[in-house]
Symmetry: C2
Subunit: 183 residues, 2 copies
Amino acid sequence: MATTRGLYFTAMTLDGFLADEHDSLDWLFEQQTEEGGPAGYEEFIKGVGAITMGATTYQWVRDHLERSGEPWPYEQPCWVFTHRDFEPVDHDVRFVAGAVEDHYAAIAESAGDRDIWVCGGGDLAGQFADIGRLQQVIVAIAPVTLGAGRPLFPRQHDFKLVELGRNGDFLTATYDVVGPRPG
Amino acid sequence: MATTRGLYFTAMTLDGFLADEHDSLDWLFEQQTEEGGPAGYEEFIKGVGAITMGATTYQWVRDHLERSGEPWPYEQPCWVFTHRDFEPVDHDVRFVAGAVEDHYAAIAESAGDRDIWVCGGGDLAGQFADIGRLQQVIVAIAPVTLGAGRPLFPRQHDFKLVELGRNGDFLTATYDVVGPRPG
């Protein structure tokens, strides 16, 4: 059985923001991607057995689906770390509160022999790293600066570049997570 | 005669910082580069006719040279935008105050038919872009996050990826400067 890994698969601006200060992703949806290009979503999602996200990310997904009329896109169990009350939904979303560590075993079990997608935000990804449960960061870098916004990874941390490529307008890069920076 | 371009050649962390909150570059000097690798300094500096930097960057260079005992590394005229008083030095450093626009013609003239290296910080690079005098950003991205520090480019701006590569531990990327983001 393959070992379940924690993978932080996300897009960001060139200056390291996941979203602007108002949680907008307008800068992201302007960019072109190449079907079947490197570090693409379609290939990535096949290897994912469970999804985790913070409340802000979940709220963003809900709002986006409401505006677009698209259906819930994930077949995997989706774990949402939140202290807010969200309305119940008819797909597999599991609301949890507290530390990642307290829920990690259940999340990993729900992923089976596939990986956990740490969808974001940055602090949730950091919490996975804090307990040694984040193995890779796979990032699509949009050719945009915002100057301010939601940070990629609010930690002092070391990584190792293992793969790079170009996908449409994006620079794509895969990093192994090394560990917190000494000092 | 070649047209002088403004080139922002710099290193940053994966999360978009030029230096940490105390202006330290310790995270940078740990990284390995490959001699003659892509987007390398040796090739770059040959095309540079003039250098510009802000006061913080200049202070950092001075401190670094004092600690290391290395001589002043640049043969090109170096324009420092500052309101501080620095001691006079015996190499070609030209202290100026005020807007980039007011000094641009003199800087470009001093560069001859070579380019202007906009060394940093981020706001100086932004000021060059504001007046349409920044053509490219050439960035070496270290596999490190800091969570906070000096920003790459404190502007909402669009770019276009034109080249990417790997140089030792760094992901390197060259962007054409497109313009301020609409809105």
